[in-house]
Subunit: 107 residues, 2 copies
DNA sequence: CCGACTGGTAAGCTATTACTTACCGTTCGT
DNA sequence: ACGAACGGTAAGTAATAGCTTACCAGTCGG
């Protein structure tokens, strides 16, 4: 029940990080391979990976001298649940009363 | 089938815009009322609303002298579908072969 | 009409952030 | 044990993005 959603959405709000995620869709990759496929330097990739890791969107494990990064299914599941819970409620209400008037004067 | 997902994720990658969305969960609101509930100025809210509108996350209609902003259910639905389609595939694969080896040498 | 309200836009400042190069520690093969 | 490759971190720069104040246009009520 952690409140990682903000951090996750912030992390997803960058094109390069989304590109990293797109690459990781194919399976775990070491940092160097990841950097070679992207138009930025390896340190930049490392920094993005740190953000993604803090948001729990990726996990890492070291294998020999290299470090494998992979998508974290649980985080994406929780994010999807967040969408369902948080927004579907409000949206379902909207679809019924589309012509709803705004709430009365508060503040 | 439009490719608004990037723009939507970029738009959601800002706390103030998420706060705006949170306010709009309760129903449509005019800009001024929205600004009064947030710790930023009205022009700032206007600028955020422009971004949210370009991402199709909100819709607006004018009523008299004021302009009502509301969440756009379709956009949130499509974004949720994006999550399901785009990520669930990769993640389902992961859950089966958790100990999968990384792909062979390509590039 | 005219004054008061609405909200969008312009211009400019500040702060954040994404990027680079340079450096360092770790791990493995020979 | 040494050399090479891996990748994380530090420091500095440049671009971006969010914010503010000031201004302007449209709409409604008197």
């Amino acid at each position: 029940m952690t409140t990682y959603q903000s951090r996750q959405l912030d992390a997803l709000g960058d094109p390069t990080r989304r590109a990293i995620i797109a690459q990781l869709r194919g399976g775990p990759l070491p940092v160097g391979r990841l950097a070679r496929r992207l138009p930025v330097s390896r340190p930049a990739v490392s920094q993005h990976l740190r953000v993604l890791k803090q948001a729990r969107l990726v996990t890492d494990r070291s294998r020999g001298t290299e470090r494998l990064y992979a998508l974290n299914p649980e985080a994406f599941d929780s994010l999807r649940a967040y969408f369902d819970e948080y927004w579907s409620l409000a949206l379902a209400a909207f679809k019924e009363k589309v012509e709803a008037l705004p709430p009365e004067e508060n503040r």
